[in-house]
């Protein structure tokens, strides 16, 4: 099999402080991977920092939010013909050493998407109990709606095969992309698998979801997931030259 071209996508909003250690580690561990920083309308020098580290940068004219930013990354991956796209948070919560595990899990299986889950094994994540309950609820809802085993649907630490990121380049959900895209992908016949990983604490800055707002957030996301599940599956899946044909000749 020819060398797989892999792109690491880092959607970033004001992460000038968190990027340098992350980019450093990515460069040291995976010199063969290309890295793209999608600057989501940052007001700090996120863009200059990324350029100083020699990675590709795409500047969004204004803030689109995580859904739009990662979608831009998928569009980039599609345009430049990558085989695999890995998506990481730019704040350092997703440990670079686990990227390899995700990519291997993807290439060694028939999965279209690998999600790095904090809950497949115990103690993958430390946070408030309320957040953990919320995440477990969303995972349960995801499992029910997709009929695949999901334990962490809000994790943004993912690896995608070409067919999957090409689909998301067109249809990435904008409101709550992490849990919604799991449901959307599964309902459009993409095979979603999980791999256990440990996440780190956020280095600098505040997470955009805090405290009591978690409960309100959960209600909104639940509603969004239910609606996402109702969406009409896209009739023709985008062509995937790299996918082996099934023996039975179905689909």
């Amino acid at each position: 099999m020819p060398d797989t071209r892999t792109l690491v996508i880092l959607p970033a909003w004001n992460e000038a402080e968190n990027l340098p250690p992350l980019l450093d580690e990515l460069r040291r561990r995976y010199p063969q991977y290309d890295v793209l920083v999608v600057n989501d309308g940052s007001s700090d020098c996120t863009s200059q920092v990324a350029q100083a580290w020699g990675v590709q940068v795409v500047e969004l004219p204004y803030n689109l939010g995580i859904g739009g930013a990662e979608q831009t990354g998928f569009m980039y991956a599609q345009h430049y013909g990558y085989d695999v796209a890995v998506r990481l948070d730019a704040d350092g919560q997703h440990p670079p050493e686990e990227v390899e595990a995700l990519v291997h899990a993807l290439l060694d299986s028939r999965a279209d998407v690998i999600i790095g889950s904090r809950f497949l094994e115990v103690e993958g994540f430390r946070s408030s109990w309320l957040r953990r309950i919320g995440i477990r609820w969303l995972a349960l809802l995801g499992t029910m709606l997709t009929r695949q085993r999901i334990t962490d649907s809000t994790s943004g630490f993912r690896a995608y095969r070409r067919g999957a990121f090409e689909f998301l380049a067109r249809f990435n959900p904008q409101d709550y992309p992490e849990p919604e895209s799991v449901v959307l992908l599964a309902r459009n016949d993409f095979y979603v698998k999980e791999v256990p990983i440990m996440m780190r604490e956020r280095w600098v800055g505040q997470s955009s979801i805090r405290g009591i707002r978690t409960a309100y957030y959960m209600v909104k996301v639940t509603l969004a997931l239910l609606i996402a599940a109702l969406r009409e599956p896209v009739r023709q899946r985008l062509a995937e030259p790299d996918r082996p044909k099934t023996v039975q000749g179905g689909k």
């Binding site: 004219p61 204004y62 409101d175 509603l223 969004a224 609606i227 996402a228 109702l230 969406r231 009409e232």
Partner: protein, 129 residues
């Protein structure tokens, strides 16, 4: 002779049927990607409120008394109008945001075309500045 009771029941049915139809249409539009999810929530809330008010006569009367409306069923219309104003206001906000973003895109596009034009002229050996 006209029977007031009959009218009350009928308007209830009409109101509920209308609200339910609206909600079903809204959900279907979201399903077909014609309507963003955010907007569906607005219509679902609107439809639910109207349905609840129309369905439970006693709720109507309690709220009507509380708000100061003499004829309870007109609470439904009042609510509808009020919620509509809310929707209109929200649309104005969304429109403003779109206009702002549109302007940014317009300006950057113009600048981009300018850069490309200059680059093109440079390549063709017509150096300037």
């Amino acid at each position: 002779m006209l029977d007031p009771q009959q009218f009350d029941v009928r308007i209830q049915i009409v109101a509920i049927a209308g609200a339910v139809a609206l909600m079903v249409i809204a959900v279907e539009l979201v399903r077909r990607r014609r309507l963003g999810e955010v907007y569906s929530i607005i219509w679902l809330i609107l439809g639910s409120v109207v349905t609840i008010l129309a369905l439970f006569r006693n709720v109507q009367e309690i709220v009507a008394k509380w708000v100061g409306v003499y004829y309870p069923p007109s609470l439904i219309f009042g609510t509808l109008i009020f919620l509509q104003l809310g929707v209109t206001l929200y649309l104005s906000v969304a429109l403003t945001r779109l206009e702002t973003r549109n302007q940014i895109l317009t300006q950057r596009l113009a600048l981009l075309e300018h850069h490309v034009f200059r680059l093109h002229k440079c390549e063709n050996g017509q150096d300037n500045s």
